[in-house]
């Protein structure tokens, strides 16, 4: 295909997309109106199940099956990364060299690591009460561990990060989501139905039936998955080298 034809193709496709988008925008309800048919129904269902954060109710109760799909996508993506970035036969591992870090930076990293970890757990635990949830908190908690790489060196991080534990945790959390879904079949005829546990007192940690449990499962899955993903990237960037003698 010549350059000219490609340019025409892009222009025609772009113009078509622009026309469709403008046509769709003309039919949108106006910005910030007071009629929200879906919102009203979601809020009503959320309050009926004593879940204070409607977004969590949508994610882990009304559309819990979609979240299972999203979690599986993350699981599969991390699995793919682990396979692609593994150490191949013509590569070897070199010991990472210690980095010279200024003392205030090191102290900051050691101080903020536990604070960020506790904040991550807080965001996971209060997913059904305030903004946040398993995904957000899991990423925060996993990022917290890597302060040890930023504030010290890779060897220090490797000492507190037994990868096998995180692999097992990842798989356990992902499967416990499915098990909780199957348990929903006990009380009703629907997979992932929120009918197993009492809905509890509104606006407490135990409210919302299975929502906090699913939230915790996703939080653990995401935290373990992010640690495993970053471990492969760090291995490649720091430790793994091509053999020189090939």
């Amino acid at each position: 295909m010549s350059r000219r034809v490609r340019l025409w193709l892009v222009l025609t496709g772009g113009a078509g997309l622009a026309v469709l988008l403008v046509a769709a925008c003309l039919n949108l309800p106006s910005f910030g109106g007071d009629r929200h048919p879906y919102g009203d129904r979601a809020v009503r269902a959320s309050i009926a199940r004593h879940t204070a954060n409607v977004v969590s109710s949508v994610n882990f109760d009304q559309r819990a099956f979609d979240t299972l799909g999203e979690m599986t996508i993350l699981f599969g993506a991390v699995l793919g990364c682990v396979m692609l970035l593994r150490q191949t036969r013509d590569e070897h591992r070199a010991r990472p060299e210690p980095a010279e870090v200024a003392p205030p930076v090191r102290r900051y990293a050691l101080l903020v690591l536990p604070v960020a970890l506790v904040t991550g757990i807080y965001v996971i635990a209060h997913g059904q009460l305030s903004p946040g949830g398993g995904f957000q908190g899991g990423v925060v908690a996993a990022t917290a561990l890597h302060l040890l790489y930023l504030g010290a060196d890779y060897r220090a991080l490797e000492r507190i990060r037994p990868l096998g534990v995180y692999e097992v945790g990842d798989a356990l959390a992902a499967s416990s989501y499915v098990v909780l879904g199957l348990a929903g079949l006990l009380g009703s005829t629907t997979f992932l139905a929120n009918s197993l546990l009492p809905y509890g007192t509104f606006n407490t940690l135990s409210s919302g039936g299975t929502v906090p449990l699913l939230n915790a499962a996703v939080g653990m899955e995401v935290a373990c998955a992010v640690v495993l993903l970053l471990a492969r990237f760090l291995d490649q960037a720091v430790e793994i080298e091509k053999e020189n003698g090939e």
Binding site: A94, P96, E97, P98, A99, E100, V101, A102, P104, V105, Y108, A109, V112, V115, A116, T119, V123, H126, S130, P131, G132, Q136, V140, T143, L147, Y149, L150, G151, D153, Y154, V238
Partner: protein
């Protein structure tokens, strides 16, 4: 719903993040990393003001996460760009302390509006994490990481 808090947040976010965006888009690397650091330092007080303006204390959690992870992001750049930054280290103490002062003023104003209690303690924790984090991140950018080989 317009009140003083949202207005202050609008002005602060427009001016602060606009300037940070200009800084991160142009100039040498040393200017860009400083602008990236100041973007989080300016956005976090804006988030706190918005939480107060909307009357929703739950929105403070966004500020907590930003105050914790913003400086961590700057540390990532300081650590992995250490070689290039060592050749041409950034010197931005005036900007760093000015932004830190803005953050401190915001937190103090919000504390006065909140009154004593655990909510005020939360605001003070956010302020300490934000200001401490950004000063340390600024220090890390200007030679915080010495000789970095393969590590």
């Amino acid at each position: 719903m317009v009140n003083g808090w949202t207005l202050a947040a609008t002005v602060g976010l427009a001016g602060g993040l606009g300037a940070a965006l200009w800084g991160v888009a142009t100039g040498p690397l040393r200017r860009r990393v400083v602008a990236q650091n100041l973007a989080t330092a300016l956005a976090c007080p804006g988030m706190l003001l918005l939480a107060q303006g909307y009357g929703r204390p739950a929105y403070l959690d966004v500020g907590v996460v930003l105050a914790l992870l913003g400086p961590v992001g700057t540390l990532v750049f300081a650590r992995l760009l250490a070689e290039e930054l060592a050749e041409d280290p950034p010197r931005a103490w005036v900007a760093t302390w000015t932004v830190a002062a803005l953050g401190a003023i915001t937190v103090i104003a919000l504390c006065v509006a909140t009154g004593p209690g655990r909510a005020m303690a939360k605001l003070l924790v956010i302020g300490a994490l934000l200001i401490g984090g950004n000063v340390v991140a600024s220090r890390a950018l200007s030679g915080g990481f010495g000789r970095v080989g393969r590590g």
